[in-house]
Each structure stands twice: as structure tokens, then as C-alpha cells.
């Protein structure tokens, strides 16, 4: 029953701690407002969040809560309109230019004119790595996602799950310490998704990377994460942050355990509360 430590403490994010060396992401009072024809839309409002090295953080919330936008701000795909954010101690733009992270999109977004190996090699070519280095990294990362032997295939010759695995290999090939994943398994069926969740956990354990993961599935979030951030919409803000104390090496069976269900329950309550708030 230790899983609920600090359950009611929604404001648990420490605010005035200076950046420690293993702090990967540090967000303070961050807001983002889109100007539209129908007036301003507050996509993100007053976000405070710290992510430490080795964390697996899930962002969960109903659509329109800004979870994807938050991930895009971290990736420097959107600029915040107020507040501050650092990634690896520097601005997101610098982090992007340093290739500090790998990004996995909702769809595989593989280039259909490139083979699987060619797709994984794409970021490496842009980084200007030598051919032999590229070949090594492609082989290593395809191995990591169990796609060895498919190097010469084209994306459209593969199943959806395999395509998404290839896109993860592509993100890993950059060899970043930070992996940003935006509903990577959203378009896949439940069975494939379970399988890939397990593989992702193994990968995370093996490489000790930091992962920021956007999802709208409660079981997925609880199963994968060490920390779950519940967001709610209008304006997009953090409603709850749940530290999970499930053991780091988990199998799918853990989803039947009472600890798991308890965390899932709290996430669900948070989502409900966030929803009723808007009415």
C-alpha cells in the first residue's frame, strides 16, 4: 500500500531547487497561447514540471489538454509564449541543434522511397556520420527493436506495428539520452500495443534513457511510467502528478495487481475531476 505515497500532494513539484546535473527537463511557469480567428486559445497554462535522468514520464489527459503541445515545446517544435524551459540545462532550440532527443510521432512517418535501413540512417546522414558508423548504428538499433533482417524492405511492405518499431529505431539511432514519444502506439491494435509496450520497457531498462511519453490510455501510462502527469483542458494545465512505485522491471501481469489498479484508479479520478471542472 505504499503506492499512494503523497497521493493528495498535487503541488508536489519542487519549485526553487536549482538545476541539478541529472535534471533533464526543467519547466517553470510555462504558458502557450495560440492566436486564432476565434480569439486566443490557452493550450498550456502555468506548467511546472521537472524530469530527472532515467525517468519514464507519461502525459495523460483528454484531447485538447495540451499534452502533445507540451511535448512539442520540449522538442522546440512550438515556442512557449511565457515562462521558461530548459532541456539538458540549455534552451530547447540548443538541445535540438545538439540532437539531444529522439522524437517518435503518432504515425511512423517513414519515407516510402527509402528502405527500412535507409530510414533509420536518415538522421545519421543529416548529422554527417561516416558510412561505416551509420551502418553500425542502423544494425544495432534495428536489432534493438527486433527488426533485423528487414533492412532491405520498404515501409509499405511492413505491418503497422513493424513500421512503428522502425520509427523507434530511427529515433534511437541518434543515440539520445532523451526519448520523446507522442502517442506512438495510438494507431495500433491492443495486442500489438501490449507487445510493443513490453519491448519498450525492456529497451528503457537496457539503455537507461529518459522517456517522455504522451498517451490517452490509462493502462499504458500506468504500466510504463515512473511518473504520470495528468493534464486537463481549457486551459491546458497539470492537474495531478503521480509518482509510481511499481518495480522497475515489470511484466504485463502486473496489470492485475492491486498496486497497479490503485494507481490506475487515481489517474482515472484525476481525469474525471479535470473533465468536470470544465463544465
Amino acid at each position: 500500500m505504499t503506492a499512494l505515497a503523497g497521493a493528495k500532494d498535487t503541488e508536489m513539484v519542487e519549485k526553487h531547487k536549482s538545476a541539478s546535473p541529472d535534471r533533464v527537463i526543467d519547466i517553470e511557469k510555462l504558458s502557450l497561447t495560440f492566436e486564432t480567428n476565434d480569439g486566443p486559445v490557452h493550450a498550456l497554462s502555468d506548467i511546472d514540471l521537472k524530469i530527472e535522468q532515467g525517468d519514464f514520464v507519461s502525459f495523460i489527459g483528454p484531447s485538447g489538454c495540451g499534452k502533445t503541445t507540451l511535448l512539442r515545446v520540449i522538442a522546440d517544435l512550438e515556442k512557449p509564449t511565457a515562462g521558461s524551459i530548459t532541456v539538458n540545462g540549455v534552451s530547447p532550440e540548443e538541445a535540438r541543434l545538439n540532437r539531444a532527443y529522439g522524437y517518435v510521432f503518432q504515425a511512423a512517418a517513414l519515407y516510402s522511397w527509402r528502405t527500412i535501413a535507409g530510414n533509420v540512417a536518415l538522421p545519421l546522414e543529416i548529422m554527417g556520420l561516416s558510412r561505416s558508423e551509420r551502418q553500425q548504428r542502423v544494425a544495432r538499433n534495428l536489432e534493438l527493436v527486433n527488426l533485423s533482417g528487414f533492412e532491405k524492405k520498404y515501409p509499405w511492405q511492413l505491418s503497422g506495428g513493424m513500421q512503428q518499431r522502425a520509427s523507434i529505431a530511427r529515433a534511437l539511432a541518434v543515440e539520445p539520452d532523451l526519448l520523446l514519444m507522442d502517442e506512438p502506439f495510438g494507431a495500433l491494435d491492443e495486442i500489438v500495443r501490449d507487445h510493443l509496450n513490453e519491448q519498450l520497457l525492456q529497451l528503457w531498462a537496457k539503455t537507461s534513457k529518459t522517456v517522455a511519453f504522451v498517451t490517452h490510455s490509462i493502462p499504458e501510462a500506468v504500466f510504463l511510467s515512473t511518473k504520470i502527469v495528468v493534464l486537463c483542458p481549457r486551459p491546458g494545465r497539470i492537474y495531478d502528478v503521480i509518482e509510481s512505485d511499481l518495480p522497475r522491471d515489470r511484466t504485463l501481469d502486473i496489470r492485475e495487481s492491486p498496486e497497479f489498479l490503485k494507481i490506475a484508479h487515481r489517474v482515472r479520478e484525476g481525469l474525471k475531476a479535470g473533465h468536470s471542472y470544465e463544465d
Binding site: 512539442r72 522538442a75 522546440d76 517544435l77 535540438r96 541543434l97 545538439n98 540532437r99 532527443y101 529522439g102 522524437y103 510521432f105 503518432q106 504515425a107 512517418a109 519515407y111 516510402s112 522511397w113 536518415l122 538522421p123 546522414e125 543529416i126 548529422m127 520498404y154 509499405w156 541518434v174
Partner: protein
């Protein structure tokens, strides 16, 4: 395609065609074949033609040998009947009468029946299906040529109005050196040079325009408008500026091919979706990397679309520009002068050359397209 399986024809067209053949054969049997006074019995070869067509049609109605062998036999019978018709009518040019036309119509109906049967063949192997898909339009073309030959000869259409295919063919092989010289002047010089320069410069302009959003917004509507204008009208001006020889024609071709290429390439360069561009951004990819690795491959289907449109426009432009003045060689020059001399068969020979050249040019680019955009959904399914 499952859309079609729902709307099955309730009309049995093959059976109707077979009855039509029988009816036409009966008409042929009792009507004069040739003027002044020939019945079908007076022309043994046509009697043979009548008999085999009748047998083929009745055979089909009785349901005897309704299999592929029977269908192929029908094809042979039709071809043989057409050959007999063409052979006999050349001895009686302009004298065809009702019976002959009935037999011609019967042979045509029989060809149609053959194609209907061919189209209904169920093919398990892909290559056989492809072969049939090639054979059907080819048969259609051959039927059309045969009908053209029979009708023109049988009705005695004046050569000035429409020469028979055989006459055009004779003229074609009889004047190969002239045709080759014209082809070299118009196609190998004007068309190819103009096409390469026009498409190439439009491509470079498009990349430049794409880089400057202001130019893109300003030039694109104008480019779209110009694509719909009768640009061919600049031909006389180009002839005035660049003289009678091929450079003036190449200039017309350049102007005609420029705008389709510009508009298509600019559209193609913006075809990549936001996710793919975000991906390049997460790699901190520069302009040139994004251009070469993402946007140009993405633009290739558009670019090839323009290349295909332009292959036709280029030939048209060069030929029509020659109507405004040339040295005494060139396809457009030949067409306009031979029309003036009423040498219509020579004109048709020239048009045949232009048609073959145009189709080959187009086909070559289409092949290249398949090789380059092998990944595109419209190509990879086939």
C-alpha cells in the same frame, strides 16, 4: 473491383451480337454484293467469308465449344473474314453494295464478340491478365484500321478526303528520307532542346520561388493563369525574334513547357506533410538536407506529371510554330505545304510519325516515372 460486381449487366450482349451476325449474314446472302451486278455467289472468297462467319455465330448460339479454344477460333475466323473482305474490295473499289456492307458489319460484330469473350476470361496469373489487357485495345485498334481500309476502299472515298491505311503506309515507307529529315529538324532539335531547357529552367525557378514565400504567393496565381492561356500564339513573335530555323521553335517549346513545370514543382515541393517536416526539424536538418532528402522525393510524382504533360505540349508547340515559317524542312512545314498540294497521304504519314514519336516520348517518361516513384501508392500496386 467490388463496385462493379454489384452492377451486373442484365443484357446478354454476346448473344445479341451472335444473332446480329446471323441476321447480317442472311442480308448478305440475298443482297447485291458489288455494283453493277454481283451476288455473293459470284465472288467465291466472299462466299467463304459468309459461310465461316455464319458457322462461327451459330456455333456460339448453340453453346458449342464455349471455351477458350472456341473463342480463339472465333478470333481466327474474324481475322480471316476481314482479310477476305479487304482482299476482295480492293478489286472492286467504290462498288460496294448493301450485301458487302452487311458482311463488313457482320465481321465487325464478330470482332466485338471476340473481344467480349476475351474480356470475360478469368485469369489466375497476373502476366496473362496483363497480356489480355494489352491485347484488347490492340484488337480494337486493328479493327478500326481494318474498318477504315474496307470502308474507304469500298465506298470509294476520294483520296483527298481520306486515304486508306494501305496508301498511307506505302507513302510512309516510300518517303523515309524526307520523314527522317523532318523528324530530325522538329523533334531531335527543336522539341528536345526546348523541352530540356523549358523544364530545367522551370524546375530551378520553382526551387527559388519556393525558397521565397513572397514570390510563391505572387507567382503561383500568375503561373496558374498562364497555364490556361493559348501560349501557342507567341509562335509568330518567336519566329520574328529568333529566325526561321529551329531555335525559334525551341523558344516556343520553352515558353509552353515552363509554366506547367513551374506550377507542378511548386505544388510538389509543398506536398510533404507537417509531421514529416517536424521530423526533419527534430534532426536539426538544414534547408538543403530537407530539400534533397524529403521534399524533392515527395515532389517527384508532381514533377513527372508535368514532364508528361509537357512531352505532348512540346511536340504540339514545335509543329504549330513551324506553320509560321521554317526552312524547307520540318514536320509542321511538311504538313502545311502538303496540305496545300492536296497530298493528303503524305500529311497522314507525317501525322503517323508524329503520333509514334509523341507516344514513345510519353511512354519513355512514364517508364522513368515508374522507376523513380516506385514507392508511390499509384505505382507500387501495379
Amino acid at each position: 473491383m467490388s463496385t462493379r460486381s454489384l452492377s451486373k449487366s442484365r443484357l446478354d450482349i454476346p448473344a445479341l451480337l451472335a444473332w446480329l451476325i446471323v441476321a447480317l449474314v442472311i442480308v448478305g446472302l440475298f443482297s447485291p454484293i458489288f455494283r453493277p451486278d454481283f451476288g455473293v455467289m459470284d465472288v467465291p472468297r466472299l462466299s467463304l467469308c459468309l459461310v465461316i462467319l455464319a458457322i462461327a455465330a451459330v456455333r456460339y448460339e448453340l453453346g458449342f465449344m464455349r471455351n477458350r479454344f472456341g473463342d480463339l477460333m472465333l478470333g481466327f475466323v474474324t481475322a480471316f473474314a476481314a482479310w477476305l473482305l479487304i482482299g476482295t474490295v480492293s478489286n472492286h473499289p467504290g462498288d460496294a453494295a448493301l450485301g458487302f456492307w452487311a458482311l463488313t458489319a457482320a465481321a465487325w460484330a464478330s470482332a466485338w464478340l471476340f473481344v467480349e469473350r476475351l474480356a470475360s476470361w478469368k485469369n489466375s496469373s497476373k502476366s496473362a491478365a496483363r497480356l489480355i489487357n494489352l491485347a484488347i485495345p490492340a484488337l480494337f485498334g486493328i479493327t478500326l484500321l481494318a474498318l477504315w481500309q474496307i470502308v474507304v476502299t469500298g465506298a470509294g472515298v476520294p483520296k483527298v478526303l481520306l486515304p486508306a491505311p494501305s496508301e498511307i503506309w506505302l507513302r510512309l515507307i516510300g518517303s523515309v528520307p524526307t520523314l527522317w529529315a523532318d523528324f530530325r529538324q522538329t523533334f531531335l532539335k527543336a522539341v528536345l532542346a526546348g523541352y530540356a531547357i523549358g523544364c530545367g529552367s522551370a524546375f530551378l525557378t520553382a526551387v527559388l520561388v519556393d525558397r521565397v514565400p513572397f514570390l510563391r504567393r505572387g507567382l503561383l496565381p500568375i503561373g496558374n493563369l498562364v497555364s490556361a492561356l493559348p501560349i501557342i500564339g507567341v509562335a509568330p513573335i518567336m519566329v520574328m525574334w529568333f529566325g526561321f530555323d529551329w531555335p525559334s521553335k525551341a523558344a516556343v517549346v520553352i515558353i509552353m513547357t515552363f509554366f506547367p513545370m513551374l506550377v507542378n514543382t511548386v505544388a510538389g515541393l509543398s506536398a510533404s506533410d507537417t509531421m514529416q517536416r517536424d521530423l526533419m526539424r527534430t534532426y536539426a536538418s538544414g534547408y538543403w538536407h530537407t530539400l534533397v532528402k524529403l521534399r524533392l522525393p515527395m515532389a517527384m510524382p508532381f514533377i513527372f506529371n508535368a514532364l508528361k504533360i509537357n512531352s505532348t505540349l512540346a511536340l504540339i508547340g514545335a509543329i504549330v510554330a513551324e506553320f509560321f515559317g521554317t526552312p524547307t524542312v520540318g514536320m509542321g512545314f511538311r504538313i502545311s505545304t502538303e496540305v496545300g498540294r492536296m497530298n493528303v497521304d503524305m500529311v497522314w504519314a507525317e501525322i503517323a510519325v508524329a503520333a509514334v514519336a509523341g507516344s514513345l516520348f510519353y511512354g519513355l517518361i512514364a517508364l522513368l516515372e515508374r522507376a523513380v516513384t516506385f514507392w508511390h501508392p499509384s505505382v507500387r500496386g501495379r
